[in-house]
């Protein structure tokens, strides 16, 4: 678990060199981190629901703040996803930094700082430390969007930052509330999330509801859930494809991760109170994101809207309060990371070759650039959850998990899948098939570097679609533990059920 330090330590050596050296150093660092994480995952005890790889140092003793890290199955899966995606992003976006405002090396320093903080956010087992990473993470993303993006990049970066800061400050108010209450109930003030998860009994329900809302709104902005989503399409459009992968694939997971780790465990009663509202918001997100995606002409904004729809599924899985729903939601986060990465990376290559991000400008790519077209097709299929791909497993689990408790909701949400077929197949058909749009004849296919970058993503999507149990074995005990702690038992399908 010294990985965050490893990442940060190597950044320090970077500024000496420039350009290519910085790229190589970044690639090597992120790959090493990924390998180390995989090694760690192998050593993870799957059936142990407690925090593992725990380390803890005193940071600010007078406030009871520790630099405490530890991971459970949920965090492990997300860290795994983040660290595997990082070198892919570096490799796939080899030339991304050149259009930027600042030097190439700054770009990679920002990416490495961001990776450090993401790992920290998932691994923190001290609420204060989590908040520090949660907020500090915004700064590198802000500069990545604003400094290296395209189009209205600074406006998009500011919009992103202000939305997130606003949510973060609401959460800060709630954290202060929790901190003060912890001083009156346990032995002294604490930020340890395990101790904090035991104090909810001593809060009045009003207090609990208000504190819950502070956390939930922050995470809903991050995730993003309708109606807090408006920053996402702009940010995704303005950012470089690599940054978009980091943003949608990894960072937004912090929102849904936070809902499980903090909203549910710290405020179980309030979570139950708000469940109907949140499920309604999720359903709106699923359908609203899908409808907007169908009408969208810009390929990057389209991917952003599909993500809003997917995040609706994840939130629904979380708040369905069944263990299948939870496992599904966590697995969904994992597979969504990879399918979004595939979509954004291929779309990014298409855009940089064609010089346009409008879907109508593409056409007949199947004939001109067959490899790229197939990759885009596969990524699209993964996004609409084709059976045999990992996203199918997760979507299926979410829907089954929701159905056992809220059948009507699951049925309506199924329409989201139908819509997904539309919003994916329409651009696939326009961009890949049909006559070659004038101007597309000379496009080059993927080169070796790009093929190497996309290969693991596609491999993971297919491998865990066919054989998901390695990941599910890690997730299931953790998910069941959360549900059990909340006092829910999975509804047993009645004998007459169809």
């Amino acid at each position: 678990m010294t990985l965050p330090l490893l990442g940060a330590g190597l950044i320090a050596t970077l500024p000496k060199s420039d350009g290519l050296a910085a790229k190589r150093a970044a690639l090597i660092t992120t790959s090493l981190v990924a390998i180390a994480t995989i090694a760690m995952a192998v050593g993870f005890q799957r059936d142990n629901v407690d925090m593992q790889f725990v380390e803890s140092y005193k940071w600010i003793p007078s406030f009871g703040i520790n630099y405490a890290l530890g991971i459970d199955g949920i965090a492990l899966v997300l860290i795994l996803m983040s660290t595997i995606l990082a070198p892919i992003v570096v490799l796939a976006g080899w030339n991304e930094a050149h259009g930027g405002r600042w030097s190439v090396k700054t770009f990679y320093i920002l990416i490495l700082v961001l990776e450090t903080m993401v790992i920290g956010v998932f691994a923190a087992s001290d609420l204060f430390l989590f908040y520090v990473f949660f907020e500090a993470m915004l700064i590198p993303v802000y500069f990545l969007i604003g400094g290296y993006g395209t189009g209205a990049r600074s406006a998009a970066a500011v919009k992103f930052l202000l939305y997130s800061l606003f949510g973060g400050l609401l959460m800060l108010a709630s954290i202060i509330g929790l901190y003060v209450i912890s001083g009156t109930t346990t032995d002294g003030h604490t930020f340890d999330i395990i101790k904090l998860s035991e104090i909810h009994n001593s809060m009045s329900s009003t207090t609990q509801n208000l504190l819950f809302l502070g956390f939930f709104i922050a995470f809903a902005i991050k995730a993003p859930l309708w109606p807090f989503h408006t920053w996402l399409p702009d940010a995704a459009k303005a950012a470089t494809p690599g940054t978009s992968v980091l943003l949608l694939g990894i960072l937004d997971k912090v929102g849904t991760f936070g809902m499980i780790r903090y909203c549910l465990t710290l405020f179980p009663d309030a979570s139950k109170t708000f469940t109907p509202i949140i499920l309604a918001l999720s359903l709106i997100s699923i359908l609203y994101g899908a409808f907007l995606a169908i009408g969208e002409r810009d390929i990057k904004r389209l991917i952003a809207f599909t993500s809003i729809s997917h995040f609706g599924f994840i939130t629904m899985g979380i708040f369905a309060m069944t263990s299948q729903g939870h496992s599904g939601a966590i697995f969904y986060m994992f597979s969504h990371g990879f399918s979004t990465a595939a979509l954004f990376l291929v779309a990014g290559w298409m855009i940089s070759r064609r010089g346009s991000s409008t879907i109508a400008d593409f056409g007949g790519l199947q004939r001109v650039t067959p490899v790229m077209a197939w990759m885009f097709f596969l990524a699209g299929m993964s996004s609409l959850a084709l059976p045999g791909l990992s996203s199918f497993v997760s979507e299926f689990l979410v829907l089954v998990g929701t159905y056992t408790r809220y059948p009507a909701l699951a049925i309506i949400a199924t329409f989201g899948i139908v819509l997904a077929a539309l919003y994916i197949l329409i651009p696939v058909q326009r961009a890949l098939h049909g006559p070659i749009t004038p101007g597309n004849e000379g496009l080059r296919d993927l080169n070796l570097r790009e093929k190497i970058a996309i290969a693991p993503v596609i491999a993971i999507i297919i491998a865990f679609g066919v054989y998901p149990s390695p990941i599910l074995n890690v997730i299931n005990p953790a998910a069941a533990h959360v549900i059990a702690k909340l006092g829910f038992t999975d509804p047993i399908p009645s004998a007459g059920g169809k």
């Binding site: 600010i60 990473f133 400094g147 990049r153 500011v158 003060v180």
Partner: protein
């Protein structure tokens, strides 16, 4: 008739103040007798060594717990010592900035635009009276948070204010604006002094004595007239709230911040806040703690208005110094939440936040002195655009200061904000915490706007340049930046230190 009692003075306990006063007097003599060529450097060395010696004395008396240093007019205790140390450290950092005499008029006595002024500018006949004035102001500031009766408090208030009025008028460029600022500061300052005295008179009428101890016991006894107590507290607070620039008594501060020479603004904004809030903490925590029914609601309203108003109006500012002035108004609101908290955590948090905010403020204004064109500093924020490209280091450091003001984690501002809000929440002032969090969100907007301008906009070619910082200014900028980040990442030692000492002697 009472026999005259010979006052007993504990010189050791008073030595930090006395050393600074002596240094100031020597400074006056230096100004008169040392030759022009050596005057600047002599003054700088004298001022710095005075301050360092005084800080050393503060360190020596850190464990003292005495309420009889001067016939119960001065209390030396933990919080007092901490505040004195904060003031001295902030002053030492500011003095490096003040020593850059390029910011000050050559001859303050000459009328703006007169021949006399031109001659003294051309001949390089730079007077350096700003050093002794600074020392006089510091000695007042050192006395202010340890004063324990209303008369001493008033004397300290005037001691720190009078030199500041003069210093505000010393700017080398745009002298008329500077002199207008000085006059405005003086007039409104006199007003506030009058309010203060009026309130002090009522409190004397209520308690029959001016010492905090007897006011406190009169409040506990509860035999006095509550109306008189209330009027007294209200007017006394108004006088103090003027000094810290809380809404609706803030009107002077944007003009004075803008008009005064920037090094003076830095010093004033940082050190005066520490001194004034130090005094407020002492009065409200010791003398009037039991009368909290009368002032807590009043200060709560003021704090909420101050935070929200400061943040909202700052958005509309186009001058960097005015923007920082409104940001400092909003911060005054944050500090007030520490006063309202009225608990041990509130006291420690306030001292920590005052210190770290002071350091950050000095650093931010030091950067402002560096961004110039041929006619002096550039106030217009729009002309700061593209600074990140021209001078990435300065822009990065300034962005760091702004993020600290905004309270982003890993800066001292975050720890300060967190600790002061949690203290206020603990005391039940949840509405203040919510207002504070909301105004932080609003405030983030204008801090980020400056960062956007510096980094994401292309430079306009209009002769804006960043002067290569002199060694002196560089010391200020780097020292404050290091402290700002260090207190954000490793605040534990300082917090523990403050917690050990921050207990008022009543």
């Amino acid at each position: 008739m009472n026999p005259f009692i010979i006052p007993t003075l504990s010189y050791t306990l008073l030595s930090p103040i006395l050393i600074v006063l002596a240094g100031a007097l020597i400074g006056v003599l230096v100004e008169a007798f040392v030759s022009l060529k050596r005057r600047g450097i002599t003054q700088l060395v004298l001022t710095l060594s005075t301050l360092v010696l005084s800080l050393f004395q503060v360190w020596n008396i850190r464990g003292a717990q005495s309420n009889s240093a001067v016939m119960s007019s001065v209390i030396i205790d933990g919080p007092g010592v901490l505040l004195q140390a904060s003031i001295l450290i902030i002053s030492i950092i500011s003095v490096f900035l003040i020593a850059d005499t390029d910011n000050f008029t050559a001859l303050a006595a000459a009328l703006p635009g007169s021949d006399e002024e031109r001659v003294s500018l051309q001949s390089g006949n730079q007077v350096t009276e700003v050093f002794p004035l600074t020392l006089f102001a510091i000695s007042g500031m050192l006395l202010f948070p340890v004063a324990s009766d209303l008369i001493t408090l008033f004397v300290a208030l005037e001691m720190l204010s009078l030199p500041l009025y003069l210093m505000a008028g010393l700017s080398r460029r745009r002298r008329l604006l500077s002199q207008e600022a000085a006059l405005k500061y003086f007039l409104l300052g006199s007003f506030s002094s009058a309010f203060f005295l009026f309130g002090a008179a009522y409190l004397y009428g209520y308690a029959g004595n001016v010492t905090f101890v007897s006011i406190a016991s009169a409040v506990v006894g509860g035999s006095g007239n509550d109306v008189i107590l209330f009027i007294g507290i209200a007017f006394l607070s108004i006088g103090l709230l003027f000094k810290v620039g809380a809404v609706p008594f803030h009107a002077w501060s944007p003009d004075v911040y803008q008009g005064a020479p920037t090094p003076v603004t830095a010093f004033m904004a940082a050190a005066t806040k520490v001194a004034a809030f130090g005094a407020m903490l002492r009065i409200f925590y010791t003398a009037l703690a039991e009368a909290n029914w009368s002032w807590v609601p009043f200060l709560t309203v003021i704090a909420i208005i101050t935070m929200l108003f400061g943040s909202f109006v700052a958005i509309a500012q186009s001058d960097i110094k005015r923007m920082l002035a409104y940001s400092s108004i909003a911060h005054a609101g944050f500090f007030l939440t520490g006063v309202i908290a009225l608990n041990q955590a509130g006291l420690s948090a306030s001292i920590f936040y005052l210190f770290s905010y002071g350091i950050t403020t000095v650093g931010a204004f030091a950067v402002v002195t560096l961004v110039r064109d041929s006619s002096g500093e550039i106030g217009d924020i729009n002309r700061w655009s593209g600074l990140g490209k021209r001078s990435p280091w300065i822009a990065t450091i300034f962005a760091g200061f702004l993020l600290a003001f905004a309270g982003i984690p890993l800066t001292s501002g975050f720890i300060g904000k967190f600790s002061i809000f949690s203290a206020a929440y603990e005391s039940g002032a949840k509405n203040v915490v919510i207002a504070g969090v909301l105004s932080s969100a609003i405030a983030a907007f204008f801090y980020i706007r400056v960062i956007v301008l510096m980094f994401f906009k292309d430079p306009i070619d209009d002769g804006t340049s960043v002067v290569i910082p002199s060694v002196l200014t560089r010391t200020t900028v780097i020292a404050s930046f290091v402290v700002t980040i260090a207190l954000g990442v490793f605040p534990a030692p300082l917090i523990d230190f403050i917690n050990n000492y921050a207990i008022f002697v009543r």
